[in-house]
Amino acid sequence: MTNTATNQTSTGSDVCMSLQNVTISYGKFEAVRNVFMDIPHGRVTAFIGPSGCGKSTVLRALNRMNDLVPGCSLKGRVLFDGNDLYDRRIDPVEVRRRIGMVFQKPNPFPKTIYENIAFGARINGFKGDMDELVERSLRKAAVWDECKDKLQESGFALSGGQQQRLCIARAIATEPEVILMDEPCSALDPISTLKIEETMHELKRSYTIVIVTHNMQQAVRVADMTAFFNAEAVEGGSGKVGYLVEFNDTERIFNAPSQQATQDYVSGRFG
């Protein structure tokens, strides 16, 4: 049902990550099924959809974060640069070093601001000028001005929005190729949100970004591509299972979606 939409998308730029018939289950229950998607390189891709539609689950599958959830299993293939991330020979730690992540709640490490940045870089084998890297990462995440005078203070000395940008800087410092963001602004005020969105516009020059958001306006503002997920009750009645409804240019999703469900969701008729 979504194949036609998917195929159109791979024309614009080259594919960074490709989901091929991905089904993710927690224990016996399927959370999301049969996802086909090609995430383009160097663009911002947004996942939108109602709660429980599996968009966060899919996002976390992209850097094997779901490995940490007991009982979570994945069928299908997730290709990154042509390699199957779930291949037996792939080291999940290596995957996460190349595909960074920013979480819903700001979660700086209980360390100094400087160490928050340096820690990830160091374990990734960074050998260069650490001071320079810390400054560069903080600048890229647009939080340098607020941090430059208190690099040796705890990361918790910052406000929520600053903490989240610190977490973005931390993700950047490991020099990943892709940055995944799981509702990065849901705990933030509108001004902090705006700053993070500006940061994203900067970042997409050098990184591929995938963002999950509940805020449709945010998807319109930041994303080049948008995927709409929905959930439907399954036969047997064991809760709902998510699926990908439509994946296309953000403009198309919001102005001329090909599916009625997408139209209903983006116009605010449900969700």
Binding site: R96, P110, F119, I123, A171
Partner: protein, 321 residues
């Protein structure tokens, strides 16, 4: 909320909700009740310290600092020095901690970091708690008749290998400091494990995810993020265990040998303040009672110092998250 035009003035509105006098009285009464209950604990502590100090005055006046540095305990000539017991208390407590801390924290990590299925984890957790439930006199009995004979070959081996060291001099004869240390390990292990487990469980899941998100290995996340985040609570648990180890009486008395002669060796019989008190209070009279009180005062001060250090460490180490 819409206010109807006919509503009475605000003051009348407010007075409608005034609390009845009885409710206020109840509130006040509860306040004084809790105050009384809380002061009781403080008064009790003060009373104990004062009476022990009062009882020890005679010995303090007679022996002074000599009590701490000399090791003669001679009821016939009324000469008392508690060095053997103080040495035994400190050595057994700290050495048992040295063994129990890695063991306890290791167990806690193992049962919190989902390395094994949940059922197995819960089973190990339950066993740790059951270990804490064994009465110390039972452990003492077990130490004498089962553990000590079982570990004697190992202690003999230590002696043959390290006979030149004063700490392993003298062939192990049965009861001694080494088995006492081991039984203390058994007794404080549940405390350290349980508190470390709770501390590790309380590290927010976001922090763990963050650590894995920047590409740490399990080991790296544990050493650099999770343990540092939990360290203050773990330290608190260790200090609690140290206090327990210093004050533990029954099991130690049964296995340490209760020697009044000083011996540096861990393989020789020794004594602790707690077991000395337990052994001698029955026959003691005159200045010997006062000497025992002095020893008790020293034990109290030692545990107090440990507690103060613990609080200080916890404050220094505690990281916000």
């Amino acid at each position: 909320m819409t206010s109807a035009p006919t509503s009475p003035p605000a003051t009348a509105d407010f007075s409608l909700r005034r609390r009845p006098a009885s409710e206020k009285l109840l509130d006040q009464g509860f306040h004084y009740l809790t105050l009384a209950l809380a002061s009781f604990v403080g008064l009790l502590l003060l009373a104990i310290v004062l009476t022990v100090f009062h009882g020890a005055r005679e010995a303090i006046a007679t022996f002074g600092a000599r009590f701490i540095t000399t090791s003669s305990w001679d009821p016939v000539n009324n000469q008392y020095g508690a060095f053997v017991a103080i040495y035994g208390t400190l050595v057994t407590a700290f050495l048992s901690l040295l063994i129990a801390v890695p063991l306890g924290i290791g167990t806690a990590i193992f049962i919190t970091e989902d390395l094994i299925p949940t059922q197995l984890r819960n089973l190990i957790g339950l066993m740790v708690e059951l270990l804490a439930a064994i009465p110390s006199v039972v452990l003492g009995l077990w130490a004498i008749f089962v553990m000590e004979p079982a570990i004697r070959p190992a202690l003999n081996l230590l002696h043959t290998l390290f006979w030149w060291s004063p700490f392993f001099a003298g062939e192990p004869q049965g009861p001694g400091m080494a088995p006492a240390i081991l039984i203390l390990v058994v007794m404080i292990l549940p405390i350290i494990t349980a508190i470390s487990r709770d501390a590790l469980n309380q590290v927010p899941v976001e922090l763990r995810q963050g650590a894995y998100g920047v590409g740490t290995t399990r080991w790296g996340a544990l050493m650099n993020i999770i343990l540092p985040a939990a360290i203050s609570a773990i330290t608190g648990g260790i200090m609690l265990a140290l206090g327990r180890a210093m004050g533990e009486t029954m099991a130690v008395t049964m296995i340490i040998g209760n020697s009044l002669n000083f011996d540096l060796s861990l393989l020789a019989p020794g004594n602790t303040i707690a077991s000395m008190l337990a052994n001698q209070f029955g026959e003691a009279d005159g200045i010997q009672v006062s000497a025992l009180m002095f020893a008790a005062l020293i034990l109290m001060i030692l545990t107090l110092v440990v507690n103060i250090i613990a609080q200080w460490i916890v404050r220094r180490l505690s990281l916000k998250y």
